[in-house]
């Protein structure tokens, strides 16, 4: 126990390499691969820390001056999913997220409660995230670990539910998206679609994705968006031309560098993730399974991109005028595709419906992101992210604004009963799904024999 405490005390850029190395050996990667992987993950962590430093130190003062200048209180900076994932994996629960994710997946596969074999271990950061928040909120590591367990179940069940859309709409057979950000919004899209269908006039509104992409495409490029936003916020802050231009280029740099440094973290995790995936695949051969993949596969679809381009200014507008919101959306504006990519199939590519639903969902999400920002900031500090004294708070849209984040945080306030209750609900859904699939297969067999 003392050893574990000592390792965690070293901070994530030292702790993660050690843990990745040990986990690598456990899943039978060679010692040299495991060592390299661990070190690269540590380097990725250091890189993300540097870029987030640039973001907070340059956008932070602008956000503060904007508050003074305009009275728009958007003082919480959206640091985006790259930082959120690093903070999550850098937490104590995060260090256990991959083994937890694998264990839950194996057990659910064994009992037939899921058809998804998740080989996308990177995206277990989502369960590390809620786990880390809950453990900080409750002061109990055990509660955080239970949260990670329950959240893994939720994501696997939702991945099964949405797999048919991944196949029919996106054209990826035998693939599902056990993705913490994308899947929950499917449950919002279902009732919204019914609502749209019921309103005369509205039910016929459409928008052409290709035209939107052609007209607005340039603003979707992260570095261009960073430049424009940075300069715009500088102007709103009342800064002079020199400062405005500098902030614009700095924010363009953040947008370009964030995915680059995150790719380093990913590069380190990859060989270990593959070794673990192979090991799990060996356990479940010849079964009709979905391979769980990153929903990044879907985000290039024209309706997804077109809706994102429209949502970027809408989300900024909502952020400025929504009472109670204090989050300044920034780094995750380019992550909006992940939020909407499982809504789009429900709406059959209807951009209008996606934008309205996305706007409502992200708008409410901003309030979640505002609410959790103190815990989020603490999690970042625990993970060794350095902020100057008296600096801004941070949060993110992905996953700070995702409904499951609110569900897990509020459930944890009821104690274990709340968390286990949520887990139980989703297990019941999984059980019902299992029965339904079995019934369908039996009927199919009957048809063939008749």
């Amino acid at each position: 126990m003392a050893i574990l405490e000592y390792i965690v005390g070293l901070g994530p850029s030292v702790m993660l390499p050690v843990i990745i190395f040990l986990f690598g050996l456990l899943v039978k990667a060679s010692p040299s691969t495991a060592f390299r992987s661990g070190l690269i993950v540590g380097i990725g962590f250091v890189g993300i820390n540097l870029v987030i430093g640039l973001l907070v130190n340059s956008l932070g003062p602008a956000a503060k001056d904007m508050v003074n200048n305009l009275g728009v209180d958007l003082n919480i900076i959206d640091v985006g999913w790259p930082a959120t994932s690093a903070i999550s994996f850098g937490s104590t629960v995060g260090a256990l997220a991959i083994p937890i994710g694998l264990a839950v997946n194996m057990v659910m596969l064994f009992f037939g409660l899921t058809k998804t074999l998740n080989v996308d271990l990177w995206n277990l950061w989502h369960v590390a995230f809620t786990g880390a928040l809950v453990s900080i909120l409750t002061g109990s590591l055990a509660m955080g670990i239970v949260t990670a367990f329950v959240h893994t179940i939720i994501i696997l069940v939702l991945a099964d539910l949405t797999a048919k859309h991944v196949q029919d709409y996106y054209g990826y057979p035998n693939i599902s998206f056990p993705h913490g950000t994308s899947t929950p919004y499917y449950l919002i899209a279902l009732p919204m679609n019914k609502l749209f269908d019921a309103i005369p006039g509205v039910r016929n509104i459409k928008a052409d994705p290709d035209t939107i992409q052609k007209r607005l495409g340039v603003f979707g490029e992260p570095m261009v968006l960073g430049l424009i936003l940075g300069a715009f916020i500088g102007v709103l802050a009342g800064w002079n031309v020199q400062e405005v231009l500098l902030l614009g280029v700095q924010m363009a740099a953040v947008m370009l560098l964030l995915p680059r440094v995150t790719a380093i973290l990913m590069e380190g995790l990859m060989p270990i993730s593959e070794a673990a995936g192979d090991l799990v695949k060996k356990r479940f051969p010849n079964r009709d399974l979905y391979i769980g993949m990153d929903s990044a596969l879907a985000v290039g679809q024209p309706a997804v991109i077109a809706s994102t381009l429209l949502l970027i200014p809408i989300v900024l507008g909502i952020a400025a005028f929504l009472p109670g919101n204090r989050v300044l959306p920034f780094a995750d504006l380019v992550t909006i595709p992940f939020i909407i990519c499982l809504m789009v199939p429900v709406f059959r590519g209807n951009v209008f419906r996606t934008v309205v639903t996305g706007g409502v969902a992200i708008g409410l999400g901003l309030l979640i992101a505002t609410y959790i920002s103190p815990i989020f900031t603490t999690a970042a500090m625990n993970a060794g992210f350095e902020f100057p004294q008296g600096t801004n708070q941070i949060s993110s849209l992905v996953d700070g604004a995702v409904p499951t984040t609110a569900i897990m945080v509020f459930a944890s306030k009821l104690g274990y009963v709340g968390l286990l209750g949520i887990g139980l609900i989703f297990l019941v859904v999984a059980f019902y799904q299992k029965k339904k699939t079995a019934k369908l297969e039996a009927e199919r067999k009957e048809e063939y024999s008749a």
């Binding site: 790259p82 990177w122 996106y170 990826y172 035998n174 693939i175 290709d210 992409q213 052609k214 495409g217 340039v218 979707g220 490029e221 992260p222 570095m223 964030l258 995915p259 680059r260 995150t262 790719a263 990913m266 590069e267 990859m270 391979i291 993949m293 990153d294 929903s295 990044a296 596969l297 879907a298 985000v299 290039g300 679809q301 024209p302 991109i305 380019v334 992550t335 595709p337 992940f338």
Partner: protein, 93 residues
């Protein structure tokens, strides 16, 4: 002259990293001289003209006229050889 390949995904961070590493290994083994760049789908819509080939794990806008190869099989492992053969073929010309 070395051909220029863009390896892209939705973010330019996640799945494209996996493809980058596997593609680099493949090119080294086959001793093919090509220059690989990692990028994302929104950037490629503006910069596709700078590349001879795009290897993507996601849908690419219709406006992109550069030859594009779907790299999802490399991720799943099912049919990966076929995709690599296609890439090799494309780089020969």
């Amino acid at each position: 002259m070395a051909k220029k390949i863009a390896v892209i995904c939705g973010t330019g961070a996640a799945t494209s990293t996996i493809i980058m590493s596997k593609l680099s290994k493949f090119l080294k083994e086959k001793e093919i001289n090509a220059q690989t760049t990692q990028s994302n789908v929104n950037a490629i819509a503006n910069s596709y003209k700078d590349f001879d080939l795009i290897v993507s794990t996601t849908h690419v806008p219709n406006s992109v006229t550069t030859k594009t190869i779907n790299a999802v099989p490399i991720l799943t492992g099912i049919g990966a050889d076929k995709v690599f053969a296609e890439i090799e073929e494309e780089l020969k010309e």
